[in-house]
């Protein structure tokens, strides 16, 4: 019971935190942000590892294996593609270079 109450408390706090974190993000970053939070829910991989580590029949091992495979794809693909996207965001060009161009 104690454990459940602690979990519920964390759930509520994390939910408000999630709301607060995202309000007023510039449109510029909506796509990378969606992609990054998408990678973060790949934390489900933790659950996949735990369940695959438990003993079970062959069928249940297959289910666990696919879950871990999916989770790993979510994590690695998600962070990787976000990094690629954000790598293209160039900082404002220095003025010196601008003058030379003109």
């Amino acid at each position: 019971m104690q454990e459940l109450l602690a979990q519920l408390a964390i759930l509520i706090i994390a939910a408000f935190l999630g709301f607060e974190l995202i309000s007023r993000v510039p449109n510029l970053l909506h796509t990378p942000l969606m992609s990054a939070t998408n990678a973060i829910h790949g934390v489900i991989l933790v659950g996949g590892m735990i369940t695959l580590a438990s003993e079970g029949s062959f069928a249940i091992k297959v289910v666990g294996f696919v879950a871990v495979f999916f989770g790993a794809m979510n994590v690695v693909g998600g962070f990787w593609v976000t990094n690629r996207m954000l790598g293209m965001f160039r900082p404002p060009r220095p003025r010196v270079k601008k003058r030379r161009a003109g």
Binding site: M34, I40, V66
Partner: protein
């Protein structure tokens, strides 16, 4: 749970939060993503210490396989295909959550220690995870234009969905009560049935939604997968799953609302009605209306002789024509002639919010030139020219017309009318995605229409500006 693992989970949660915080500014966004990835690594390594050592080989094999597929696809994907890639990663996350709950249900039954919380959250996780998985698959197929293109609907759709949902609840209850409701169906068979029925529900929920609303659906499914991860945290009594999943569930919900309000489309309307099929587009009375049809030379002349401040409004047509490069050339050419060039990016330019920004930065446009809707409208007031390339709906003043009930009414638009001259580079007079005619086309004093492919048109204008 070991204290060390618990503390590592808290550290991982902190890194997720710092990471997301840094993702709110372009200067720090990339490091924010890296920090969140480090948090993920911390959580995964900490988990290794609480699981059976013998299982590491199997886990390692699955992780490596998944990582390779994820990395290769992430490295290869075209930036224009980003929405479907995000949908794919989101789908597999939801699928993982559903499978984990299924597998845990089996374990908990074998061990005979199913708590009430686990009993309730297992069917919930399977439901949300499975809907998210198949919903994302359908979204992927639609965006990749492989299947279900447009809005697919069939009679009594809402009724079928509701019945399916009730069926899922009954099957879930049957699983929890050990077969008390449907004695012929074992509890394990019942949760498998929940998985399958939820997958069908996921398909049915997404097929009636049109392509333009798909980004919002992906964002919503992203939030769903977060919730599924959080629910699985209750099944497994695992704190990092609860924290990580809930943060994504909550932030994903906010992001979805931001996007749908940017589109001027209430979320309920999108989900329950599909796209309000372009019925009101049949306004043309066959009357030929006059437009100011110009050549690239004329546009170039105006830009080089009379325009000091130019605002460019790119739409998805630009990306389709792969014209980001010529667009950057135009910017550089005008800048080297001492003119100011800004970009006005509508929230829904591209295929998902912020997508156009990614495409332009890929082409080498610095992000401080990319202005949001609310920032560019004041700039348009004193702009000498607004150049609209491959866009229509987002600059269509018809959206402001309260009298008319069109698919875009109420959508905030870029107020290009405020600029001295409006230049459309467009292949034809055909209305845009929403099918609503744009009155600006026919304002022959203000508007110049350059009928051309986006890429060719921009190249011609660049040549004309240089030549002039």
């Amino acid at each position: 749970m070991q204290v060390a693992t618990f503390l590592a989970y808290l550290a991982a949660a902190a890194l997720f939060i710092v990471g997301i915080r840094r993702l709110r500014k372009p200067e720090t966004a990339r490091s924010g993503n890296t920090i969140a990835a480090v948090g993920m690594a911390v959580a995964l390594i900490a988990t290794l210490f609480v699981i059976r050592f013998e299982s590491l080989l199997l886990i390692g094999a699955a992780v490596i396989l998944g990582s390779v597929v994820g990395a290769v696809s992430a490295q290869r994907v075209q930036m224009t295909a980003m929405p479907q890639m995000v949908a794919a990663y989101n789908g597999v996350g939801g699928g993982a959550a559903a499978l984990i709950a299924l597998s845990e249900f089996y374990h908990l039954r074998v061990e005979g220690e199913m708590s009430l919380v686990a009993a309730l959250t297992v069917p919930l996780t399977i439901l949300i995870g499975s809907v998210s998985f198949m919903g994302s698959v359908v979204a992927f197929l639609k965006l990749q234009e492989l299947a279900f293109s447009g809005a697919v609907s069939f009679p009594l759709q809402q009724v079928v969905n509701a019945l399916l949902f009730v069926g899922i609840l009954v099957l879930g209850a049957n699983a929890i009560t050990g077969g008390a409701i449907l004695p012929f169906l074992s509890p394990v068979a019942s949760v498998v049935a929940v998985l399958v029925a939820s997958a069908v529900l996921g398909v049915l929920l997404v097929i009636p939604i049109g392509g333009a609303d798909m980004p919002i659906v992906i964002s919503l499914l992203n939030a769903f997968t977060g919730l599924a991860a959080a629910a699985s945290g209750f099944v497994l009594e695992n704190y990092i799953l609860i924290i990580g999943g809930t943060i994504v569930g909550a932030s994903g919900t906010i992001l979805t609302r931001l996007m749908s309000s940017a589109l001027g489309r209430p979320l309920g309307k999108i989900i329950f009605a599909g796209i309000a099929a372009a019925g009101s587009s049949k306004q043309d009375d066959g009357e030929e209306r006059e437009v100011n049809d110009v050549g690239a030379g004329e546009v170039g002349e105006y830009l080089s002789d009379e325009a000091e401040k130019v605002v460019i409004v790119p739409g998805y047509g630009l990306a389709v024509a792969q014209a980001q490069g010529p667009m950057r050339d135009l910017m550089e050419t005008l800048e080297s002639a001492g003119k100011t060039v800004l970009f006005g990016i509508h929230p829904v330019a591209g295929r998902m919010p912020g997508h156009m920004n990614v495409l332009l930065t890929e082409a080498g446009v610095p992000y401080d030139k990319l202005y949001d809707l609310e920032d560019i409208n004041p700039e348009l007031e004193d702009a000498d020219a607004a150049i609209i390339v491959g866009a229509n709906d987002v600059v269509n003043p018809a959206a402001n017309d309260k009298e008319q009930d069109s698919p875009i009414s109420g959508m905030p638009i870029l107020n290009v009318e405020a600029a001295e001259r409006v230049i459309f580079i467009k292949r034809s007079l055909s209305p845009g995605f929403a099918g609503v005619d744009n009155p600006l086309f026919y304002d022959t004093d203000k508007t110049m229409m350059l009928f051309s492919d986006a890429k060719q048109g921009l190249q011609d204008v660049v040549a004309a500006v240089k030549g002039g």
